[in-house]
Symmetry: C2
Subunit: 256 residues, 2 copies
Amino acid sequence: MNNLQQTDQIIRGWLEELRMDVLREMRDPLAVSEKTSRKDLVTNIDKSNEKKIVSFIRKFDPQAQILGEEGSGDDVKDMHGHVWIIDPLDGTLNFVKQRDNFAIMIALYIDGKGVLGYIMDVTSDIIYGGGPEIGVFTQSHELKAPANLTLREGLLGVSGPMLVHDCYNLQAIDEASSGVRILGSAGMEFIQVLTGKQNGYISHLMPWDFAAGKILSETLELLVTKVDGTPVDMLSSNDVLVSTRNTQKDILNMIR
Amino acid sequence: MNNLQQTDQIIRGWLEELRMDVLREMRDPLAVSEKTSRKDLVTNIDKSNEKKIVSFIRKFDPQAQILGEEGSGDDVKDMHGHVWIIDPLDGTLNFVKQRDNFAIMIALYIDGKGVLGYIMDVTSDIIYGGGPEIGVFTQSHELKAPANLTLREGLLGVSGPMLVHDCYNLQAIDEASSGVRILGSAGMEFIQVLTGKQNGYISHLMPWDFAAGKILSETLELLVTKVDGTPVDMLSSNDVLVSTRNTQKDILNMIR
């Protein structure tokens, strides 16, 4: 592996190449199939994107383990050494129904520590990427830590099912916030929090849904934990809370 | 008044001018005040925008009545003659918290009939505008009627409070859809339905929230009614359902 700045440039190059492929391929009819339910979809593009990312990583970092949503990677059992966690197409339901509001996400952990994370908003062509050593940048500017807003002061992104079922007292938490938003893509929700447009996001997420966002969020002084404030498990699903410090404090006081 | 094509061009000119003003003014601190609650805000820019739109209309169509959110217009009692219905800044909470995801909306009704409607997505600089006589256009292309999807086949925009309180059996309706989205701006939600990215939207709306969207939607073979399928009242608040024909049928079968 090269140094971090070079690696950053290489990953951004992969993302731009993947984006061009997606934009071209999504003009053709998609091959869509259901995974666990009719709301949990996978397309030919999720799969082909993952194969491309795995092949980029294998060439660049041959000893690494790769954890990917669609199974082209490895059966990762621990976070030792280099572990890449990738979501080739996050927000697949949006992608299928809207051809918009979806993301590509790539994260690199070394010995369990988040080193580089990338979320690409594909239709807007904006990459939010970097990590604790180099900061977080789009193509045009560096992101600063968002204001440390309280729950009451900002908008909260949530999972629709968790809101409807009032998990963790979420309906009261939403009522205490300035308002609730539902975007249908973890990547797009992380972007809202990273840019200070929402002060939090709560959802049930798999590792590839939060691996990149966690690195970027923590670099910007945001917190990424389980909803009860305990550390997330990088290798299993978690009910995740992404938030400013003050919003986390407010939510921890209200969860049931 | 000139003919419709000319009027269309004139209104688009107003919107571009308003947009430049908003983008410039929103760099300065906003003067924000609460209307009915801390979630119902108004800013100096809502008010100055409305005054500008009213002044554009007074010069262009001096005999017309104007119904505006912030009260710079007239006390409109009926829909006879020319009635302009305007929302100088829709999605004010998004505007205040995000400086993004808000709209400017302008509609012209003549003797109760929708003639021209405009929704401008300000940050994206896209105008969705036109009406039954001239069609619906952005700056770059004409919009075609979206596919007549069933409830199950698409995504449904909803009001957060109506979802949480399960108004009209909305939680079951959402469960029957492909998924629920909450964007926090009626204008942005109408855009999603007009472009086929959502097959419906349900919310409690004031006339300025739906006046322009109704004209555009109906031009594109979408339906805009109360949630029970009856006609909306153009001069009062309504629980509004915007949807494809098939989605309306499915929802009417489920509402309670």
